[in-house]
Structures are given as C-alpha cells and as structure tokens.
Assembly symmetry: none
Homo-oligomer: 234 residues x 4
DNA sequence: GATGAATGAGGGTTCATTCAT
DNA sequence: TATGAATGAACCCTCATTCAT
C-alpha cells in the first residue's frame, strides 16, 4: 500500500518515519533518566534531546511514568536472554561459564547507557511498586536464576563444594550490580575511577577461590599487574 | 496572637530545648528521604513528621538541599569511626577482624534507617556533585581504607595470598552495599526477602575461600553461631 | 507515498462524494457538543466519530468555533420553518393550533439530538456573542414570533382573554425549553425521568386554562389521544 | 486562642484572616463560572479576581472541580430553606403562598450571581454526574417538593382543581428556571431584555388561572398595564 | 481531497521558599 | 523561636491547529 520510493527525503523535522520515533525517544529518555533520575528529568528535555516537541512524546507514551516503564522494559531483558542461551549451550567448566557470562554482561550492559537502569530501579522501586514487581520478575529473578543454575550445576558436578546456593548466587551478582551503580554515580567524581576489566577479573578470582586463595600451587591472582586472565586461571 | 501564660510549662512541644530540634528534623527527613527519595520528599511531610511547622525547618536548614546534605553528612560517619577504632585495636586474624567489622556494620547500619543513605547517594550523586564528593571522602574512602588495611595486612602476614588489593577490597564491600540497597528497595516487594544473617555469613565464606572452597581439610570458616555451613547446605 | 491503483473502487470510505461530508461531520459534532458541551468536546473525537481524520475537519471548517457555529446554525431553523408554515395554513382554534405546534416541535426537536442545542446555546451565549445574536434572531425570535402570533390572534378572536402577550408567550415557551434542557442534563440522572408526553399535556392544559380561563364545569382540555385528563389525574 | 485586637490592620495582601478567604474565593469563582462556564474559567483569573495568587486557591480547594462543587453547594440551599420555612408557617391561600415564594426566590436568587448556577448545572450535569446528583438532591428535589406541597395542598383544599400534580409542579417551576437561564445568557444580548417583575407577574397569573380556572367573568389580566397583582387576583 | 504526525501555547497542579505575625 | 498563609516558578499534560505527504 505504501511504497517507499528511493528518493532521498530531505529529512525535514517531521518527515521522519513514525517507526523510528519511539526508539529515539526511548534513547533520549534513557540518557536523561540515568543521568538525573526520574523526578529530575523533565519531559521537555527528553523531547528536546530527541529533536521533537514536548507534545510529540505524548503521541508515543501516555505519561512520564509510561515512558519510564518503556525505558525499563526495553533495556535489560535482551542481555539476559543472551546469557540464558549461553548457559543452555555451554559445555566446559562452570568457572569458564561464569567468566563468559560476566564478560558478556559487561559488554552488553556495562558499557551502554542501559547499565544505568539498575540505579534508577533501586532508587524508584518503592515509588513504583508495580514497576518494581515487573523488574524483579523480568530482570532480577531471571538473572538470579541464570547464575543460580551455574552455581548449582557446579556443585552437583563437584566443581564447587556444597553451599547455600541462594545466597552464594547473590554474592556472585552483588559486585556486578555494584559496579553498574558505581559507574553511574560516583565513578570519576573524585578522580577515582574503577577499571571494570580489572575489577571483574578480581571478582571472578575471589568468587572462585576466595581471598585466602587456593592452597594449591598456582598463584590465584597477580595483584594489579593484570596478567592475562586466561592465563591466570587457565 | 497566641498568648503564652507565664505558667511554667515544662514539656510543651515548643518549649523543648532548641538543641533537640535539628536532630528531630534530621531523623524525620532521613525517614522520608530514604523511603521516597530526594525529589519525592515534601518538606511539608518532613515538618509534619517532626511535629513542627514547615517554616520551622527553615530556621535550621537553609534549603531542602542543605537539609539533604545534613542528613547524608550525619548519617554514616559514626558507624565508620567505630570500625576504624576496631581495626586499630584488633589482635587476632584478619579473617576474624573482617567478620567483626561486617557484624558491627550490619548492627549499626543495616538495621537502622541510615542504611538507606547509600541508596540515596547512588541515586543523587550526579545531581549533587559536592555532596557526592563529601560522601566519597567521608564515607566511601574511609570505609574503603578501613577494609583495605585489613586486606593488605592479611597479605603481608601471609594470611591471604598476594592480590590486587584495591579491587579485592571493593569486592569485599560490594555485597554489603548491595544488601543495604536491596533492603531499601526490592526487599519484600515480590515476596522475596533476603535474610541478612545468612547472606552475610555466606558472603564471608565466599570472600575468604571462594566458591570452590578450600580443598584442604580444615573447615572453611565457621561463622560464629551457625551450624557448620557444610551441614546447613545439605 | 500512497499510490492509488487505477482500479475503480466504488465505495471506499474516502471515495464518498464530498457533499455528504459536511453533514456527517456536523452530525458527529452535534452529538458530542450536546453530550459534553463545547469545551469538553475534542475535535479528535468528532473526527473519529465521523470516521475521518482530524485534519479532514479543517477542510470543511476553519476552526472549532466555526464548526460549533455551523452546528448551531444548522440545528433548529428547519424545525421552526415547519411550524411557521403550520401557523399560516391553520384554520381551527388557536388552542388546537398551539397543541399541534407543541406536538410537532417535540417530534422534530425533542426526540432528536438537535434538542440539545438550546442547552449548548444557553451555556455558551456569553462566550460567543455573535453566535448568540444569530441564534436569537434565527431561532428564539422566530419561535417567539410564531407562538406570539397564535396568542395574539387568540386574543383578537376572543378565544383568549386580554393579557400581556409578550410575557405570556414566554411563559408558553419556557416549559418547552425547560423540557429540552432537562432531557439533556438531569434526566435519568437520579432515577427521575420526565415523561414528555404527559408533561406536555399538562403544560398545554395549564396554559390553556390559564389563557382562556375555565368556563366552569367542562373538562379543561382533552389532549388529542390521551385519556381524559380529569380521569388520568384521579 | 486567637484574639483579634481592634487595631486597624493595615490590610497587607496576605495578612487577611484565613476565615475570609474561602468566601472571597468562592465569590470570585462564582462570578467567573457564571460568566464563562466551567471549562472557560481559568483558575488564574479566579485568583486574580480574589486578589490572591493561583497557588493560594489550592490552600482552600483541592482542585478546580472541588472549587466548582463548593460554589454550587454554598449557593442555593439557603434560599430554598427560607422558602421551606415559609411553607410551614403560611396561613393564607395557596395562591398567596405561591406568590410569596416566587417573590422571595427572585429576591434571593434572581438578582444575585448565584442565579447563574442553574445555567452551569444544566451545562455540566452530564460531565459531573456526582455533582449533578448532589444538585438534584439538594436543590432540585427540595425546590420541587416545596412547590409540590403547595400545589397539592391547594388541591386538597379545593383551591385548585384536581390535576397531575407532579407535572403541574414542573410547569410552575419551569418559567422560573427559564428566567434565570435567560438572564445569564441572552438577556440584553440583542437589545431584548426581559423585565423580571412583569414576567413573573404574568407567570403567576397564568399558573393560577390555569390551576384554579377562571371563576367566570372578571378580566384575568390586564395586558402589560401591570395592574397591581394583588388586585388582579384579589 | 485526505491523512496523521508534529507542534506549542496554555491550563491545572505542586511545592520549595518567604515573611508578617 | 515558631507559625502557616501566601507566593510563583516550574512541570505535566492537553488539544486546537498546521502541513508535508
């Protein structure tokens, strides 16, 4: 019915195809929400950043709250799904799997703006109970289950000793969450900047072997020289 | 307008020595800031909760921002100081010291309202750079240094293997921060509730020995009270 | 962008002869204006109800105000004209004529949506002076003159006693206007619903007996169909 | 508790006692609502007319809708009550009573701004169902009952002939309502202005002669010469 | 002629802040 | 010191109107 002719459209402000708008708006909103928080973000600014007028926002989102929800919904689930597939297909050790998951997750989430969503969610969970519920179902619980399965499988295989898997899973996840929060709050604020690669490497090392290290023969971790992680653990 | 009869009224609301006021106001403000976040907290509510009128707030704090800063400033420093003294006086193993610190900290911070401050600070750090700076100096860095010294000393004494102490310290702290954030956001929201005691115990266990546990013969760590974790985990 | 294939599509929505459009739009607008009032009616809704897009409205009406005026203008004049002809052609008593007029008018106006126009006009007269002027000229004055002539003729013929015809005419009309307003506002709102037939019958009875006086024992007025009112009133 | 000293207060803008404010605000709101209708009335204007800022409105009324409701509530009920008492205490004929009621009502309502409320209510009843309900209960039904009792008593006493009292009551009231609406809409718009006194006199004459029937030969009503109404009916 | 995405002025509402008492 | 009425800037949201397609 509608035929898009290859004529180069002069890109007037409101000739942009409707399909692109929501994504642009969500991107702008994500930026600002992450940067300033929910309340401090003015829809005027979101609109301006997306290059549209304020009213246009309301063609696509019913309210600020709905916009917020849409940002949350679109943001993290895909990254989780990727790792869910990874877990199903993985063949090697659980330690390797954990490393891969962490690496993936950092690539997908840590380096992009959506990594700022958890900060938002922690801040606003009590103000938006239904949204918190949604987030817990779709992000937290799925991520938790994902890692939990790895931990549990590791135990069953004898790779990890028996333990309280529920809490152990949380301990595995906590430093990842912390890193995200840090990056979107204090990081660089005082000159201090956490190097994510190194931080994650150490996290993995500690998770696997603890501060006291593996009494076995090989060195758990070379402090700060940042040996090739693949080497340091084989 | 209101005529104060010269009868000595020893305990009316507004006869209270003014010294108590700031603390009452800060307590009320803390409650609400923690519960709702900075922007969503109305000074009206703070005043009402403190049992004063809105105008009175301005006798003690120049603005909402100043009130917020005062809340943050007053919040965590004392808890840190306690542990700083603990480190200086400690005699036993670093593992024991770590356990004590965590326990203290949970007692002081985890169970009180001030435990909600980190959530606030993460959320608002980018909106209040100077406050973030203060918080980083007075809370984060001091807490970091505190734990960092323990880790480092553990290494020098040979209790811990050599490692990247800076990141290791963060990995030790991250689950503590996470627990605080969780309690003031999602905890109980979905029926899921983290049991702090158990969580911290597992945390300590993992930190010290990792998921893979200590292959040697001695029990990883018997967290004070609890049954042998090996047991408790089936 | 949209390419119309030369296949003759005989009855698509937008192939309709443009002559029908204005009437459809006016009908939709009338419905909504009557239901919600001028300000609360959104052009979006008018367009949707007429099955066109919002922009199309502006092909036919310069503005919301013009649309409103068109609705009002088109509304009642035909009904008035019908009765004007009736008066000219009538042969019998004035009482009969009055009854016929009232009956006609209720048929034409009372049961249709245009009966809601007076409510609109009373509400908006002060906001649209020129429209009020038009309405007064074309509807009120003509209706007034119409009934006034009947009253006056009745007097001259001796059918009615002498009286202040101007106000008497208004008194004749007022209950008719009231009925219209009622139907489009409170009717049925509280369970109370005025039965127009009975109401009009009583009105006629009162008006006539008032105008003519009751010569004494004979039944006031037997409105066409209905059971003898004397009976119907116990 | 609060002692109002007789010192002439310099009448600063916001020293005005809180007690006076609501009435001032309601008066301003009434004026504007009546003049422009509900939607077209801006709270800014209401505030300005009352000599306060917009925010002040919200100290006294939760929303525009509540303000509207308050205007309605305060407006008409007292006038009704006055006539309710009148009915209870009345000793003479029902015709006299009706005349008094109409006269009172015009004094209380017709000449003041609150006479504009019915116009508002008819216009907005469908948009505010709960308000319509309230109005019907507190104003319409009470007024209806008031007049209905007079009519019914007149019948039982033989002063009026038997009739359908329910509708007859409405026919008595309709011209009164009409007059109010007229005054707040078209009156004077086209040069035409209804003289309330004369109009009401004629109304009464018609109603009574209709209700009582003409005793026979005496002239019902001298057209527009405005004979003393007391005379014209005895 | 018809569309519907885009606009932007305008109004209701909130709330930090002020200040006469 | 304490009050709380008053302020007014700011923000969310609506909707009549426009215009490229």
């Amino acid at each position: 019915m509608t035929i898009t002719v290859p004529v180069p459209r002069p890109e007037t402000r409101w000739t942009r195809r409707k399909d692109a708008r929501p994504a642009e708006l969500l991107a702008a909103a994500l930026d600002l929400f992450v940067e300033r928080g929910y309340a401090a973000t003015r829809l005027d600014d979101v609109a301006r950043r997306a290059g549209v007028s304020k009213g246009t926002l309301y063609l696509y989102f019913e309210s600020k709250e709905e916009l917020f929800k849409a940002v949350i919904r679109g943001g993290l689930v895909p990254a989780i799904q990727r790792n869910e597939r990874l877990v199903q297909d993985h063949a090697g050790t659980m330690a390797d799997l954990l490393e891969k998951i962490i690496r993936n997750w950092w690539q997908d989430v840590g380096n992009s703006q959506i990594g700022g969503i958890p900060k938002l969610m922690f801040a606003e969970a009590r103000n938006f109970p239904d949204l918190a519920h949604f987030y817990q179902q779709e992000v937290i619980n799925r991520g938790y289950k994902l890692v939990g399965e790895v931990v549990e499988l590791g135990q069953r295989r004898g790779e990890f000793p028996p333990m309280d898997t529920e809490h152990a899973t949380r301990i595995v996840l906590a430093p990842l969450v912390f890193l995200l929060l840090w990056r979107h709050s204090f990081d660089g604020c005082d000159g201090t900047r956490i190097d994510p690669e190194a931080y994650l490497r150490v996290h993995l090392g500690i998770i696997l072997d603890g501060l006291r290290g593996r009494p076995s023969n090989e060195p758990a971790k070379a402090p700060r020289t940042a040996a090739d992680p693949a080497t340091s653990r084989r």
